[in-house]
Amino acid sequence: MRRFVLIAVPYLWLVALFLIPFVIVLKISLSDVALARPPYFPQLDLSAGWEGLTSFFAELDFENFWFLTTDDLYWKAYLSSLQIAFASTVMTLLVGYPIAYAMARAAPEWRPTLLMLVILPFWTSFLIRVYAWMGILSNEGLLNQLLLWLGAINEPLTILNTNTAVYIGIVYTYLPFMILPIYSALERMDDSLLEAAEDLGCSRLSAFWLVTVPLSKNGIIAGCFLVFIPTIGEFVIPSLLGGSGTLMIGKVLWEEFFSNRDWPVASAVAVILLLILVIPIILFQRNEQKQREAEG
């Protein structure tokens, strides 16, 4: 009995507030937009019994999904989200790897402090960290002032409200997610392997490519997924740092819902976004599982 209550409480909570909402999204994505409250059609009318149920299902269709394929705004937004997510994952890896590497090579008594310095920004508000870049990247911002003062440029660069600013924002905010798994992989590495490689005639660089990188492979994969998956649906960064030309699906969904009030199309956008995410999520889980088995 006690076991039953223990299982039932969190179970029912998640069914009510995670699973059912999801079914509702699926259902509304198959409905039509209507000038009513709530603004979609058909409504499920259980008081009409079986007939209400059949007429309800008869009204559902894939019209919204068809609409998404005809208006090129949507597939362009999906593609550009994937492209931005992919490119910024690569950039985060290039920035994060050397930091993780240097942390793992630092003197052991320094490592806890360095680790805390990486985690600290993670606890600070995401919104504030994105906002911090607005003052730096704007036309009169500090970066432009610095470059003008150095004489590197003659007129201010436009960075804010472009994709460049979005990339900077993503690399900045997601950097800890990349550093931590790579660091934990590198920290476990046995130094004597590198010494052995060098004794056997490897140069330091080829020892790095042949020993260090393969041994940190799982950390790299985990870090890349941890950056890539949330970036695809990102909303805050493109809406604060990006411009009107920055197409990302999270922003499109938000506007479809709040500005156009087209709930069925917003739901269809969400359903397709989720279908896109399923592939990287399954790959990520498989990688985690493999790692656990290798350790266990």
């Binding site: 911090a132 604060l240 819902f257």
Partner: protein, 272 residues
């Protein structure tokens, strides 16, 4: 063997400069006398004064803290239960679905979580406000709590619990007297994680709130969309200061606890 490496030293310096300079600039400019955020016009704390007189911000801060405290507390209870179920309850029908529902919200884009919860609240005719944000935040943060707590539950020796049961404890007493003290650090960090997630959340709160409840991130977001403002810099500085103090205190406490535990274990091992 370890030599000083210029490569490592510069990677660390540049890396941490990149992570911290934007926030340091934000803090410095919160003390700027000028309304223009890009021109330095001398030291002043007037934006902090303005902030404290701004009722809208104070109200939003109060709503945010209320939501964060309530939702993280419920999330910690539910998340700990869920972790216990995942690690200890063995097989039951629907276990796969259960663990799927625990892990899925961790990777779900916030826009989708927000949209789906909003559609549910409208569907059942629940008025949107503090209650709906609390429900939404509890749901996604309980999953984070259960991941943190279950990793601790997995690593701890189940025979301790069995010993307590053999010695006449009821299952609840065994949990309260044996299991809970051992997993307490994980439960506390789960609570802290849930609390910060709730404080921080813009997207899900925007979807699930109504006109009666505006949280701080929603307020900040609408102010910031119009551009940089010194008041927001002051607010950010306060938030950064709180987080920094909190994280440093927490790490000092856990360090001391670890030292104490190591000492206790040495004492216990000493032959009498």
């Amino acid at each position: 063997m370890r030599r000083f490496s210029w490569f490592n030293a510069s990677a660390l310096t540049l890396g941490f400069a990149f992570l911290y300079i934007p926030m340091i600039i934000l803090v410095i400019y919160s003390f700027n006398a000028s309304k223009l955020v890009t021109v330095w016009a001398g030291f002043s704390t007037k934006w902090y004064g303005e902030l404290l007189r701004n009722e809208e911000f104070l109200n939003a801060a109060w709503v945010t803290i209320k939501v964060a405290v309530i939702s993280s507390t419920i999330a910690t209870i539910l998340g700990t239960m869920a972790a216990y179920v995942l690690v200890r309850a063995g097989r039951f029908s629907g276990r796969t679905l259960f663990s799927g529902m625990i892990y899925a919200p961790l990777v779900m884009p916030e826009v989708i979580t927000g949209l789906s919860l909003l559609l549910l609240f409208i569907g059942i005719g629940l008025d949107r406000g503090v209650l709906t944000i609390v429900l939404a935040h509890t749901t996604f943060s309980m999953c984070y709590v259960s991941v943190v707590v279950s990793s601790r539950l997995v690593s701890f020796d189940q025979s301790l619990e069995e010993a307590a049961l053999d010695l006449g404890c009821s299952p609840f007493e065994a949990f309260r007297l044996v299991t809970l003290p051992i997993i307490a650090p994980a439960v506390i960090s789960g609570w802290l994680l849930a609390f910060t997630l709730s404080l921080d959340d813009l997207v899900i709160a925007s979807f699930t709130t109504g006109p009666s409840a505006t949280t701080l991130p929603i307020k900040i977001f609408s102010a910031v969309r119009l551009g940089v403002s010194p008041e927001i810099n002051a607010l950010s500085t306060i938030m950064i200061a709180i987080v920094t103090i909190g994280v440093i205190t927490a790490s000092l406490i856990t360090k001391q606890a670890a030292i104490r535990q190591a000492r206790d274990e040495r004492m216990a091992e000493r032959p009498t």
